[in-house]
Structure formats: C-alpha cells, structure tokens
Symmetry: D2
Subunit: 135 residues, 4 copies
C-alpha cells in the first residue's frame, strides 16, 4: 500500500472525501511531477533539443502545478477548501493535458516522452476524478 | 530594480503581457510564499499553538500555491497559457484571501501575523491584476 | 516498475551511476517528502499539538530537503555533480534521521508517525546508498 | 524593509543567529531561485539553445537547492540544526558557484545570463556568510 494511502488511513480526523480517491490523486500527481522533472532532463539530452523546447516548458509547469496540488490535497482533509482546491485541480488537469499531448507527439521518437505522456494522462484523470468528488 | 523585472527586461522574446504587471505579480507571490513559510514557524513558536492550527495550514497551502504560480508566470512568456494560468491565479487569489483573513484575526496579538496578512493581501491583489490582464 | 526507473531506462545518454540505485533513491526521497507533508497535517489534527511542534518542524524541513535532493538527482545524470550532490545527500540523510527519530518517539501513540518514521528511515538509507555510490 | 527581515523581527522566540545575516541569506537565496527560474525560460527562448543546455540544467538545480535552503533557514530559528543546515548551505554555495560561472560565460551575449550570474554570486556569498555564522 502506498504511503499516501497509509497516511490517510492513519489520519486522526474524519476525511471529507473518499480516502482511496484522495490517495489515488495524491499518488498520481506526485508520480507525474517526478516523471516531468526527469523528462525535462531527458529532453535536454536529445540532439534535437530545439524541437523539444515546448515539451521542456510544459514539463516544468506540469511538475510545479502537480507538486503544489498534491501538497494542498494532503492538507486540511477534514474540510478540503473547494474555493482553492477546485481551480487548482482545474489548472492541474489543464497542464497535465497540454503536457501529455505534447509528450505524445514525441513518443514515437523518444521513449521517455512516451512514459511521461502516460504519467500526465494519469495525472489529468486523477485531477478530474477528485474534482468530481469535490462537487 | 527587482530581479523579476530585470529578467523580464532581458527577455529575448516578446512578452505577451505588460512587463511591470507580470514582474509585480511574480514578486508579490514570491514575497508572499516567503512570508507564509516564516509565519508557519512563528505560529509554531506561540504558546497558544492550538489556536494557530488553522493559520498554519492556510500558510502552508498559500506558500505552495504562490510558489507554483510565480514559477508558471515566469515561463513561456511569449504565450502565457490562459487555460492553466487563469485557474491557477484564481486558486492563488482564493488562498491568499483565506490566509490573509485568518492572519488578520491574529494580527492584534501576533505582529508576525500582521506582516503575513499584508503579504497575503498584496499576493491576492497581484493575482487579480494579472488575471484581469490575461482576459 | 516505477516511473523513476522507467525514465532512467529511457534516458538517451549514459548514466554515470547504477540505474537501480539512482531510481531507488529518487523514489524513496519522493515517498518520504510525501509522507512528511501528510504527517505535518496529521500532527496538526492531534489534540496534543503542542507536543507535536518539533515533529511538525522536522517534517517540513524533511519534505523540502527530500524534494530538492530528488530533483537534483533526476538531472545531469551523465555527470552527476558531486560537489553539489554529496553535501545535499548528507543534509538529506541528516534530516531524514532527525525526523525519523522524532516520529518514532510518537509512533506508539500516533500510527501516522509510525508510517512517517518508516518513510524517513528509507529516505535516510537511500541517501547513504547513493552517497556511497558517488565516491 | 524586506518581509524576511520583518518576519524575523516579529519572531516570538530568540533567534540563535544575527537576524540581519539570516534575513539577508533568506532574501538572497529567494531572489536567486527566482532569477534561475526566469533564466531557464530565457535560455529556452534563445536561438542557440543547444549551447545553453548546461546553463539550463544548472539553473534548474540552483533554483531547487536555493528554495529548499531558504525554507529550512526560515524554520526552527531558536535552534538552527547545523547537521542539516551546514551541508545544505555547502550544497547551495556549490551550485550557486557553478551556475554563476556558467551564466557568466554567456553574459556577453545574453543580458539575462548577466543578471542571473549576479543573483548567483549573491546567493553563493550569502550561503558562505551564514555558514561562517553557524560555526
């Protein structure tokens, strides 16, 4: 069982949302941030780096937004603040979608982009699942 | 002149938004993140820490969201991505507002909360100014 | 297989260090950062929060240092820079050790601290393994 | 007066180190992180991006290490933990030095690298000043 899930199960209060949904989102966003950080460096190692510039920028944004969203989703679980968490998850779904799409364009040439695209797709989906659960 | 402004002035491309507005937002959010990180620790030093729990949580969220927003606003300045930046700025304005309000409640007792409330108010306003410029 | 490992396997260059060792460290530090962020919030939910202040501070430091170390270890893998990475891993091992020890003190009362202590111990060990591989 | 300094002056406890030194380091590292994040994006906008790859990687590392160091230096000010803070500051001085040197190599062509080099030099010096004060 992931730490995200174990920590939620050990939470001393009442969680305002389905624990497996919340843990799943935290994990998917943490994984996505990590994949994007690694993919940035992989892109920088490619001979065709000029063609990877857009991918690098989107990966950097995606890592930052996923990290912040996972952290906010890990706090105040008794009363998750929808005024903050909802637009944050929308931003997160949007950047995961843009970044995943760009990574996919390079997936046939660069296997690291294929892996990162998958992590972004999971991040996007997990953001949307938590968004739906917040409503 | 701040580094944020100097870096924008040295930008090799065309910036899609008024440079002083963008630089002002980046600075205000960076300052706010820093104030919130410090205020978290100040709150933890107070004898009435149990009454500061909500303030601590909001400061932690505020620091994370401001940091991510400042980073995203520092990238792809030729074509700032509104689908990502807009909800991110909305989340940022919302957490700066909640955190600033909570800090203000403690401002008469704790001068560090007064300082942090001011940083949050500037962060909120700067987020709204950039939001307006994005439309 | 973790994304950290998949991304290393897809790396276009030569990795200067054993890939499973590097991937294991990146994962352990990412997990530890995530556990510490969650444990901070769990500690803040405890009725005896005044006794948890030291634990909260160490968890906050531990999350920040593990996040930075995992990010740096994810870059310039062809020539990991020992002048930076070595002291960073030393700082990381030191904070994982302090934080793990403090969490362990509360483990009999708070199961979230038991889980976090375990994540810190893994983070400390992973830092030391990568340190040894760097020499 | 900077927020870093105002927050230290409002600190409810006793600070174990000279407040202006500590505030100066926190500010210099926050500024350096911000400059490096912006410079990464500036480098990515340059036509000769292939020649900027090393600069980009160092800027990314520098931003991460400076951010973590500034955060740790903002906590537990009554008893700054030298076992963690000392190697962290050493890592920070090392990456600021490498990154500043690389930025300087491009300063005659790219004014953003000149600005970033200056921020890195200040970050390096501030890390060394706090290191000396810790002994």
């Amino acid at each position: 069982m992931s730490y995200a899930r174990q920590m939620l199960d050990a939470y001393p209060g009442t969680i305002s949302i389905d624990a497996p949904v919340l843990a799943g989102t935290i994990e998917a966003l943490t994984d996505c941030a990590q994949a994007c950080t690694a993919d940035t460096d992989d892109d920088l190692s490619e001979p065709n780096v000029t063609e990877m510039v857009r991918c690098i920028r989107l990966c950097l944004d995606c890592a930052d937004v996923c990290t912040a969203t996972a952290a906010v989703a890990s706090r105040q679980r008794e009363e998750l603040n929808p005024a903050v968490l909802r637009p944050l998850l929308e931003a997160c779904a949007a950047i995961c979608s843009s970044c995943g799409e760009e990574c996919e364009r390079h997936a046939h040439m660069h296997s690291h982009c294929r892996v990162c695209a998958e992590a972004c797709r999971r991040g996007e989906q997990a953001s949307r699942v938590l968004l739906a659960a917040l409503r």
